[in-house]
Amino acid sequence: MNEEKTPEKTSKIDLNRRDMPKQSPEMRSHNFNEVALGYTKELALAEASRCLQCKKPRCVTGCPVEIDIPGFISCVVKGDFAAGIKKLKEKNCLPAVSGRVCPQESQCESQCILRNKGGEIAIGRIERFLADWEAAEGIIDIPPRAAPTGKKVAIVGSGPAGVTVAGDLILLGHEVTIFEALHKAGGVLTYGIPEFRLPKAVVAREVDYVRKLGVKVITDYVVGKTRSIDELLQEYDAVFVGTGAGLPWFMDIPGENLNGVYSANEYLTRMNLMQGFQFPNSSTPIKRHKRVAVVGGGNVAMDSARTALRMGAEEVRIIYRRSHAELPARLEESENAEEEGVIFNMLTLPVKYIGDENGWLKEIECIKMELGEPDASGRRRPVEIPNSNFRMEMDAVVCAIGNSPNPLVPATTPGLETTRHGTLVANQETGKTTRDRVWAGGDIVTGAATVILAMGAGRKAARAIHEFLTTGKQ
């Protein structure tokens, strides 16, 4: 690639950020196909041409994995997509995933100098375009692998953190095995994020890529149960724990064990991993509820609400205790949900679920909230308004208020220290845990966060593990 050559600038450049084609809200709320359709070649070229190729690119500083953003964009401008994807993959082995689910608006794109001049460059959309272009072309560029080192690494969990570590270490010549508890690899990308936001074929492709690099992926294997970390350490030189935030929180209010009350994990796993949206043509049973309330305001809540709509619910509500401004979901996701017909009940908190004589949910009782003084998170604390309780008839509630780290590995690994939140104690820069030869990264360390942060942590851990395997330093 020729770095000095800047893209030709013509006077005809349209300064505005290019929209990405989407399925219409009416259409998409009735199907599970991907909502955003991706840039065409023309749109990708037009958008890429807007990039000013800053000498000191601020976008790169906004990226948790420090992708050479102007670099891959300039390849697109030149029409050299193969070089573009190669550039991307230097830093990010899952571009088709991060191009879709990364919160670019608060990361790379938020730093773009064009923010107030026609809009920030749509970095995520161009990233996605390149990844999809590569997949459509069917050419998979397998980078050269370093000479075998004879060292073996076990990776626990096949989510974004684990797959990143695996992808990095295999290229450095180590032997890598991923252990996955479920029957399909991908972790939260597979069981959690719905088809309409991240097609499972895309995830399968990315996992397949690390397989092609030579990583062994063993599914149906629960580390902590089938084999402990200590036993893995007998066979492997290093272990990376990327088991994610997989223990759902409930609110500890009356009626939470009624039928019809789900954790978001259960609701989404039934639909995504187990393909419940096809039931009865798939084998895991699901219910088609008419009125569904989703408690929470994050991306998982939006995913659950939009899934409920697609399953034919007539009334779907997001119930969130703060206001619209504090919704932790990506703006794009809450907008999509609203366009599709999800009703937002802001400043509302469920206090009780009421069931029928057969143990099924029939009503939920909520209380109205108002915003008080800022709390530790800097957001204004929601405060209950006395005597503002009211009830709504509901067939189902999906509790999407977050997850604790999965306790299986910490509970079965002596000496692996956890914080009081249940997350693993790990060095921020290296991912090194309190156990010899054990590293960790992703949600198991940070608590529930984003795909890209998990990938970033995986990259750092891979570097540290490689250093240990080659120099013995940890």
Partner: protein
């Protein structure tokens, strides 16, 4: 993929499945379970493990055909494979020297309580075994328990063997003993466990049950197996499946257990007889 060594119907609707699973076989303890998928599109179903052979590297499961997924499993043959067999999951049954242990097995639980009884016997307990079934012909493995048990009782609803009636006759069993048992363990359907709990609560005998709720992942991720035990929310997959019977909120547990009953039986209502009876004749 785990190869099937044996799959036979041991009594009507009750199947034995022996699969190759060397790592699980080397680890498994009484009271633990595995999650099985019959095929690539299959539902994940939690099944108690009834026996194992650590040297041969196999585990044996006894399960009842109740719906589509167990039906698919019941149609597999030796030499076929199951798509998933993952475990051992859950915590092991607490084994100790209690004195006299009364064990009740019904349905698939006759199978799954077998390793519990074996371990309890090895721990030096006196064993009183109670089989509970609708009729005598539904009791299996009785001779496997003979050497382990100091006394065996049968309760059948039609009176074809032992006492006639429901598991509530357990009170009569206990009253007939010179001294009441020190601990009771129950494996079987929810009704059996709930009713046993009622009886033994009145008698004040510590009782543990091995719960069998609906599960998906079996590792604490989905939370569908939650159960109220002593006013606290527990996940049967990681906190159990063994719990103090007297602390379990049975009414709620029963309702949750039945959540998908309509969907499960839809299979029987909608499937053609040819699906169940391959090649026009009953497989067994």
């Amino acid at each position: 993929m785990n190869k099937i060594i044996e799959r036979t119907m041991i009594v009507p609707n009750m199947h034995l499945l022996e699969v190759e699973a060397p790592e699980i076989a080397s680890k498994i303890q009484p009271g633990q379970f595995v999650i099985v998928r019959a095929n690539d599109e299959g539902e994940r179903i939690p099944l108690s493990v009834a026996d194992w052979d650590r040297e041969k590297g196999t585990i044996t499961i006894v399960f009842m055909e109740v719906g589509a997924s167990t039906g698919a499993l019941a149609r597999l043959k030796a030499g076929d494979s199951v798509a998933t067999c993952v475990g051992p999951l859950g915590n092991a049954t607490e084994i100790g020297h209690y004195g006299t242990v009364l064990a009740i097995g019904g349905c698939y639980g006759i199978g799954s309580i077998y390793p519990v009884v074996r371990a309890m016997k090895n721990a030096g307990n006196r064993i009183i075994m109670v089989f509970e079934a609708r009729s005598s012909y539904l009791i299996y493995w009785a001779n496997k328990f003979v050497g382990l048990s100091d006394k065996i009782f049968n309760i059948t609803r039609d009176g074809s063997l032992g006492m006639k009636g429901h598991v509530t006759r357990l009170a009569d069993v206990i009253n007939s003993l010179p001294v009441p048992p020190d601990r009771i363990v129950v494996n079987g359907c929810t009704y059996l466990m709930a009713h046993t709990s009622e009886v033994t609560k009145d008698l004040g005998i510590p009782t543990v049950v091995n719960l069998n709720p609906i599960m998906i992942d079996g590792t604490g991720m989905c939370g569908v197996c939650r159960v109220t035990v002593g006013d606290k929310m527990k996940f049967a997959c990681v906190d159990g499946p063994e719990f103090d019977a007297h602390k379990v909120e049975w009414k709620e547990f029963l309702a949750r257990r039945k959540a998908y009953m309509n969907e499960e039986t839809m299979y029987f209502r909608h499937s053609e007889p040819t699906v169940v009876h391959k090649e026009g004749k009953c497989q067994e």
